[in-house]
Symmetry: C2
Subunit: 127 residues, 2 copies
DNA sequence: TTGCATCTACGAATAGATTCGTATATTTGA
DNA sequence: TCAAATATACGAATCTATTCGTAGATGCAA
């Protein structure tokens, strides 16, 4: 039971996980200051969210000092993996190829990006 | 206001849209029978969901007969586009390439799929 | 025609996510 | 030392999604 559920964070939780994945250890205030740039919510909202994430096992914290230090407990790539899979099934009827086309058509990829994807495809073909 | 919101259906709504996109015009029962295969919910649950989707403008219906006929109002590709974009931003920090790698690494793509993706990439490169 | 099957409408319960106010504790600087 | 700033804890309001029960209308078959 401790696993599958943790890979399906809510949107708000994902925003917080992004920050923790990127910056590593953070206080609530650290996280809140980043969030504030894009949305406006109160400090206690961020705090509450992170407390809930603690209960769910999405994060851990060091509570030895007054100001607690949080870190992500769930793996970034596994979480991404899980979410992409879900999207392929729910949105693209199981076709990874169709998802990829959409992703490419939309987010105009740079030549470097395209080349690195090609390289990756070649590796897949040669296996 | 009539647009962006409609591209962000909930999970249940997406399941129903998938069916409507695939089959075209459907009664509630048509949709319900497909849904029943994978989940178990009552008929009136499906009905209610589709009524809500009507209010939101996700679907339209012909109510001239006793049994109403529904069809999708939102465009499949635009919806997919929107959801992929959101995932690239929220989950992959804006990198389409990283999403694609995950999609490929995971859902073992067939050789045909890989080839069609390569072809697509070549077309992108030559523009 | 009459009763059964099927349909829609709609209110309401439930569950989860999100938000915030308030109480309380701790630190720190004047 | 003491007041202001800053933290956490926690209950509760709100909002949205999902589910279902029940009532009432309609069509159809015997």
């Amino acid at each position: 039971m401790t696993g599958a559920a943790n890979l399906k964070p809510t949107e708000s939780e994902l925003e917080i996980l992004q920050i923790l994945w990127k910056k590593g250890n953070c206080t609530v205030r650290d996280v809140h200051e980043v969030l504030e740039k894009n949305k406006d919510a109160g400090y206690t909202t961020t705090l509450k969210l992170m407390q809930i994430m603690l209960e769910k096992g999405l994060v851990a914290r060091d509570a030895s000092a007054k100001t607690h230090i949080y870190r992500a407990l769930v793996n970034q790539e596994k979480t991404q993996q899980h979410l992409v899979n879900k999207m392929i099934d729910n949105v693209f009827n199981g076709s990874a190829a169709r998802l990829i086309m959409q992703a490419l058509g939309n987010h105009t990829a740079s030549k470097d990006e395209i080349n690195s994807i090609k390289k990756y495809l070649d590796e897949l073909s040669n296996q």
